[in-house]
Amino acid sequence: MSDSFDKKNGRDKTQMFQSQTQSSIGEGSADKKAQPSPTGLLANCFASDTAFDEVRADDGKVRPHYVKLFGALEDFSTVELRRRSESCERLVNEQGIAYNVYGDPRGMERLWQLDPIPFVIAQDEWRALETGLIQRATLLNKILADCYGAQELIHSRWLSPAMVFGQPDFLRPCHGIKVPGDSFLHFYAADLVRSPDGRWWVISDRTQIPTGAGYALANRLVTSRIFPEPFRDNNVQRLAGFFRDAQKSLARLSPRGADNARVVMLTPGPHNETYFEQAYLARYLGYMLVEGQDLTVRDNSVWLKTLSGLERVDVILRRVDDDFCDPLELRNDSILGVPGLVEAVRAGNVVMANALGCGLVQSPAFMSFLPGLCEHILGEDLKLPSVATWWCGQKDARKYVLENLDKLVVKSAFRTHLRTPEAGKPLSDEESEDLRRRIEFDPDLFVAQERIELSAAPSWEKNLLVAKPVGLRVFLVTTEKGFSVMPGGLTRVAPDVSGRFISMQRDSSSKDTWIPSETAAADVSLLNTSAQSVELRRTGNNLPSRLADNFFWLGRYSERADATARLLRSALRLFNPERTSGAQPLLAPLLQTLETQGQLPGISKKPELRQNAEAFEAELLAAIFDPSRPGSLRQTADHLQRLAMLVRDRTSNDMWRVLSQLNDRLATPTASLVILSGDAVGVLNQTLMGLAAFHGLARENMTRAQAWRFLDMGLRLERAVYLCTLLDATLRSPEAENPSVLEAVLEVVDSSITFRSRYNLLATVPAVFDLVLLDDKNPRSVLFQINQLAKHFEKLPKEREDAPGSGKNLLAKCAARLNQTDPRELASPRGTWTNSELSKTIRETMRALPEISNAIAANYFAHASISRTGRGSES
């Protein structure tokens, strides 16, 4: 590794290149004891000649720390291994572990790739790594504290001004801000790789937003379940302790004391690539996941906007890049942040983790300075080396880089959107010349790093093991006693055997990481076992109004899907292809309702459709499956899944699973709609079962707090809308009194059984409308929906004004009108049904419903209205 350079590398301050001669952590040759030769599974799994083989020593034997694992795996039959790898896939699927890929037009989420075979690191080797990582995190934190404080390192020329002031990640407004305990870096992650000689190297430092710990945890939960035997026999160290440390550490940061600390996790939103992880961690750690718009600053403190008012926030675990956190003092084009946040931090009323400005030391340019800085600051040698790095801002380094351009990986030194060559691809002469010119023109912006051939570990691929290049991301959290390392990490696997670079944005996979120990691992759980008493809480009145909005629409769309599926199912069943001539009288009210609700636009104006059985059937099927058709069941299911994602951290995994399955089922038939209507009925039945499961879970598993209330309000409102539409359409139909038409209505609203148990006669308008419109005991009647909505209003925080347009008043009027309708009077219509009192009542209710919905939005989701942020400045 670049020996020629190391010789020049003295202790000269001006030449602080990466030292490579120091002792490094790695596998020695201690493990060359006699071990059983690999057979079976590993027989054909070899690393390339030049790469380090993680599993096999030079003599071909399995390394000791892998013996137990492969011993166990060899015991399984191939069939059994395949079964377990399938169950691995299923578990990932069920938990909905996902990673968003930018620029993917279809589907925001991509499923996480988990390779079932864990990556194992020997305990003594791990201990050495731990020591090195703790030293590195401590060092980086001290560098940050200096750059945002006294700046001694710059004055004494250990760091050049360009290294700090030239970086977009140095946040000038944050200079001079005091942070508790001089702790800037609460979380730190590093990417490690192992070179062919067995030594570990850091290839990147993650200090801005160290992501991945949640994925490591998710991987662990899956892998430990599919391989419980080897997991137990290896005494694999548990991860929960790391997260408990994180909780304690964050609570301790609270300016109001740890006991009442309110910690929230600030997310950029569901479009962020690691949104799954944010929701997953927020739930695991017990923090609320909030967006910038959920927070506000009052009197230099940060508050959470909830339905019942403002609640103070003490600590913000941020997943938003620091420069986006405050449009007032940082990037003023940010819509993710909270105006006034920096001043609140400056006032000491809220603490950010990581501190604002931490992105500074993430720059690869710092790597070339770390050995010198470590000796200067800590008085120790840097224990864990970085991959050899040259910052072109230094003359000698620049010269070396330009001379060895073809052997190095050139990267942008700072977080800018520089054009740099794709890693691992050889440069053409032209590209190389262009790069050379750009480095010479603005050298400060470039670093070059040595290429390292990654080590290889066995990876499961279609019934056999293949050795693939791996890298390891490790995680640290600060505690009272300094940094603590997660015993394990996120192992990432390159997509193909020759891969050298791993990025989750490409098609790479991941593994659980095991650190075996001699003694059985202690069980740690996140449950608070200390003696301190916990204040019992029965209410969760802390729903951000943005989430209330999303729950409301989740309710509306779930009921919309339900109604659409029922209407289309009845339509398909009643449609009689034999009767091509003449109208389909039974269908009239259903089709009218589907037209009004938008599933079959303009169907009444296309009488020719009803003449042509095939065309008509195709129209119905399109209303079910066509994803591009507005209002189709498929689209509604898409909306549902999108909304479910927005409230992901507030719903159970079961609810999430039910909704994803719903979508999958409808998505199966592709663009060509060659489906038999019989199959379609089957799909609709399954859809209705899925929705029933969803509603059942909502009813039985959600506490009667605000989230459930808004979900149910959405459902009730939507159901009232479609009931009224259907009843109205029925009265307008020329065959309103036809018992078969009324039977169809009863079937759609799932009230046939009730009707038959009450009336031993053919359906009549008064009897049916009494049951479906006025019966407050029937959960599918209009009045029942209105009454439920009114009950919800009672339980919610007061509406902002008691104006005549308030939701409560509107509901009271609707209820009064329905209650005054005497079912006995229904029996004798004067003239046609269309002009009857009954019809008027239904239409008035229909008119009131959108107003009620608007009142809910205006009162409880008011913040969601778009308000423009203007930046004022004087000329």
Binding site: D299, G872, E874, S875
Partner: protein, 277 residues
Amino acid sequence: MKWEIIHRTSYAYASPVHNSFNEARLQPFSDEWQTVDYFLLKVLPAARLRHHHDFYSNVVHHFEIVEPHNTLMVESNLRVTTKARPLLALDATLFSLSRISEAAREPRVFDFLQESRFVDLSPEVWRFALDATDGITDTWQAALALMGFVHGTLKYEPNSTTAHTHAREVLRDKRGVCQDFAHVLIGLCRVLKIPALYVSGYLATEAASATHAWVEVLIPGVGWRPLDPTHNREADENYVKIAVGRDYSDVAPVTGTYKGTTERKMEVNVKIERLNG
């Protein structure tokens, strides 16, 4: 000299706005050449004020107005004493231009040698700077020549530019106000590696009393010297300095974000009075 200054900025919004968070850079420095004897900042609607020193040591006041409001008024009242400083001779030679890159050794000088929001260091700026300093070997002489170039090339034309006009456009259209003159001079100095910063402040002339902007350049061994390209002279005790930065974006007197309409009117009134004694 003693000065009494009232500086009022008023905003009138077309419809009520709320959640307004603001920073004001209105309190002048106290240093070797000026002392602030009295300073009071008033905000209406009334708001609690906090302050801190920013990265360039300017005093920054913070205030938030959460409740809906139709107007916002920010007014500073101050009394400042300025001292006469010895001006440098116009023909002095102080530091060789060929050694000017040594100025970059001072860590905090870094920011004043880079491009910034309103100032770029393009080849075009570099050519202008070279032409204007042809044959000059001294840093001070170069700075004076560049100031003369700006003064002679740009036409002072009120309202020809906005607060957000980039130096590039000023150089293209050859006109602007004091802020633009300062931005162009800063760019010309920086391409030649002469550290230059932006100063906001007040200047009382017979014609008017108003906010003003000028430049400070670093002459190694001598210190930062204030040059006013609008008037082609070194700033003297008639100038009151408020804040410094890389360019206008670092020293805007009032800046903030709020929620509500973008339709608004702004009015600035400055009254500068010379006190006796």
